[in-house]
């Protein structure tokens, strides 16, 4: 029922210069690897990217950074990416650092028709500067507005042809909220199964949020291999 793209190139064909895109993943886990590579190849520029991290220097969103395709980055953590830190400190890239929970909630709110909400995170810090502060039950909270995107590029383990998605372990992270907050959500999945093959009680992302599917093998690079 949902379009299945024949290539990553086809999947990102409608993404134009200046687009706002959400990209799923935490570190390199759960990132839509092939969709990102397709954006690099397409050379689309002036992107506003909403993603918790910005990849590493040679993989994931780090590739878009290196090519200076990102105008503005909204995320919570840049620690692992030297080129990102360099572009931020030199002012080459605009960055909006957002507490991770606030980022997750802003994206959820965007997908859920909630334009703004109060949260304690960031009160008394630079994050709350210029924003409304209000007291509830004797504690201060800051008003944060929702985020939406033109496109959400996400990664799941399995999809059925309706577009229902199941994620693997901690590869879930930001993907389900981003699926809800993109005007167009494209899911890169490891496997597409027949409609009806997924248990409806275990669906993480219901099909209503998904506009297109791409089956693609994943490298799943490991950032910090740590063993016993």
């Amino acid at each position: 029922m949902k379009p299945i793209y024949s290539s990553a190139k086809e999947a990102v064909a409608d993404i134009q210069d200046g687009a706002t895109i959400m990209v799923g993943g935490f570190g390199l886990v759960g990132i839509p690897e092939q969709l990102i590579l397709a954006l690099v190849e397409k050379g689309v520029k002036d992107l506003t990217v909403i993603s918790n991290n910005c990849g590493v220097d040679e993989w994931g969103l780090g590739l878009l950074l290196k090519d200076k395709q990102i105008k503005k980055m909204i995320g919570s953590y840049v620690g692992e990416n030297k080129e990102f830190e360099r572009q931020v400190l030199s002012g080459e890239i605009e960055v909006e650092l957002t507490p991770q929970g606030t980022l997750a909630e802003k994206i959820r709110a965007g997908g859920a028709g909630i334009p703004a909400f109060f949260t304690p995170a960031g009160v008394g810090t630079t994050v709350a500067e210029g924003k409304e502060i209000r007291e509830f039950y004797g504690k201060d909270y800051v008003l944060e507005e929702a985020l939406r995107a033109d496109f959400s590029l996400i990664r799941a383990a399995k999809a059925d042809k309706f577009g229902n998605l199941i994620y693997n372990k901690t590869a879930q992270n930001f993907n389900p909220m981003m699926a809800t907050a993109g005007a167009v959500t494209i899911a890169e999945v490891e496997e597409i199964v027949e409609t009806g093959d997924l248990d409806p009680q275990t669906i993480h992302t219901p099909s209503i949020y998904v506009q297109g599917l791409l089956q693609a093998d994943q490298e799943k690079r490991i950032e910090r291999l740590t063993t016993r």
Binding site: F26, Q100, I107, A121, V123, Q172, R221, T227
Partner: protein
């Protein structure tokens, strides 16, 4: 006692702040070490803000799953009774006051419990990650860190100079030298660790310390 052993001592002391049945979030770096010292008498469930409740030990080489990491991006395992969820759910848990203890690292802590641990203007930007949410959500916020910076300057200050992570959020500081509570009256020195004197701690702390009932020579 070398640096490595200091880290172990800090982690062992921090472990005492965790009760049986607690749900605990351990920050990146030294806080992660605390997991190694959790008493077998306690059932403790570790929360990872990237969407896992029930972090297990590091995997054997055969067990490594690239889709299973902790918030420090290290490959981990999960325990029986664990659950996976979204980042929104993870921070609902954190912000909603369901996590009993969060143990975090710090660059600076003020006598009021202000915490700075996410950037040095013009020099280093790591991002706040989940720290700004954690400091407002977990019921008890423990900071563990070196007592002084590499250049010997105090990290426990009257006021933080670095951009804050949160205001009046820290409940306890544990370093290689001391355990200090943040109270409404200021910093109260509770324990001084073996190898240091009360005076050592006072001298290496910029903020004034309340010294009333101090246990000394704690191992």
């Amino acid at each position: 006692m070398g640096k490595v052993n200091y880290r172990e001592r800090i982690a062992r002391r921090a472990e005492k702040e965790i009760n049986d049945g607690d749900y605990v979030n351990l920050g990146i770096g030294m806080p992660t070490l605390v997991a190694n010292y959790i008493s077998e008498d306690k059932t403790v469930v570790l929360q990872s803000e990237n969407g896992l409740l029930g972090i297990g030990p590091y995997p054997t080489e055969d067990e490594v799953d690239p889709d299973l990491i902790n918030a420090g991006k290290e490959t981990v395992t999960s325990i029986p009774g664990s659950a996976y969820f979204t980042s929104a759910e993870s921070f609902a848990m954190i912000r909603g006051g369901h996590v009993d203890v969060a143990i975090l690292g710090a660059m600076e802590v003020s006598e009021k419990g202000d915490l700075a641990n996410w950037m040095i203007p013009g020099k280093m930007i790591k991002g706040m990650g989940g720290a700004m949410d954690l400091v407002h959500g977990a019921k008890k916020i423990i900071v563990i860190m070196d007592h002084v910076a590499r250049d010997g300057s105090a990290k426990i200050k009257k006021e933080c100079e670095l951009p804050l992570t949160g205001k009046q959020v820290v409940h306890k500081i544990i370093t290689e030298r001391a355990a200090i509570d943040i109270t409404p009256d200021g910093l109260e020195l509770r324990e001084v660790f073996e190898g240091f004197t009360i005076q050592d701690v006072i001298d290496s702390t910029e903020a004034p310390l309340i010294v009333k009932n101090v246990i000394e020579n704690v191992k």
